[in-house]
Symmetry: C2
Subunit: 192 residues, 2 copies
């Protein structure tokens, strides 16, 4: 199987064999078991990740309570810029909620690769812009919608999460108490 | 006065005279009056902006009601990637809430500049990463805090907004009704 990052970069430019090899060498692919951590709160992040398959939950702990920030699934990138760029301890945990395959993007190796192949940097700038836009959309959608709208939106946009993820994690992700999510689900099933 | 973008880029690298001139030419600085719009819902965005001074409010209209997404002040960038990259009509309005000076970053000119001076692209990639991180932090802070915590955080991190911005816009920005913000303010002043 070709390295997933080679595949992705090939969507933008025709890669030389040397470029393909350098990408595959720089970004190895690893598998993790359910409940394995890619990063734990307090560790200094050195890697970003690209999910090949599986599901990774990002959460933080506030006043002893877990808050689920994000679920990362196929082809989503996991960036902890705050921790990597400023060499600060991570505020988040990254836990596999199922068996997952992930490409590891070490920050140092990434920057060496851009130095050797500057045209990769340009592609990543544009991709970074795209991710920025998506993240902003997600924030505004969250802010400007009711919990019920958020849940309906999740069913529509990420239906696979609904069965994969325990209800109390989903509730936390949607910013509501588990009881509230139960009520929303009941009301939706009564109306349909 | 030197062009603000020349100043900012000079923090990263020593610019040649030609580079300085190209930046200043590509990104003109304009002033806008209170209530002027930099962009209106439905228009296709072609420019990003960097606020030199003043304050710009980003809002959208949902079910006839204005929702304030963001206030942009000194040295903040305003990116509407969704509209620019996909040539889609903007979902947002950008309105000056006071006299404002803004550098205009036309997307086409920006990409021409990166072609001519590839090292600028690398700086912008890193800056884009930083902005991505900040935006993510903002999202998670919003999601994982109560309205009162959000307000206290705003007083701490952006005190100048409190007097500059009408209360009902602030309430919308914090994701609460104006009455709720009034109550929060009253409770805080009673306790202090």
């Amino acid at each position: 199987m070709e390295n997933i990052l080679v595949e992705i970069m090939s969507n933008f430019i025709t890669l030389t064999d040397e470029e393909k090899q350098d990408i595959a060498m720089a970004f190895p692919i690893k598998t993790f078991k359910r409940k394995d951590f890619l990063l734990e709160e307090g560790q200094r992040a050195k890697d970003s990740f690209l999910v090949v398959n599986g599901c990774i939950r990002e959460y933080c702990i506030i006043d002893g309570e877990e808050h689920t920030n994000e679920f990362y699934t196929e082809l989503q990138s996991i960036l902890n810029i705050e921790s990597i760029s400023n060499n600060k301890p991570s505020q988040y945990n990254l836990e596999c909620i199922e068996h997952s395959t992930v490409a590891i993007l070490n920050a140092k190796k990434e920057s060496q690769l851009y130095k050797k192949h500057p045209r990769f940097g340009e592609i990543c700038r544009v991709e970074m812009e795209k991710m920025f836009g998506e993240n902003r959309e997600r924030y505004l959608k969250f802010k400007n919608s009711t919990p019920k709208e958020r849940y309906l939106n999740l069913i529509k946009e990420r239906p696979s999460l609904i069965n994969k993820v325990p209800q109390y994690h989903l509730a936390s992700y949607l910013g509501v108490k588990p009881e509230t999510l139960s009520r929303i689900r009941k009301r939706i099933s009564l109306n349909s």
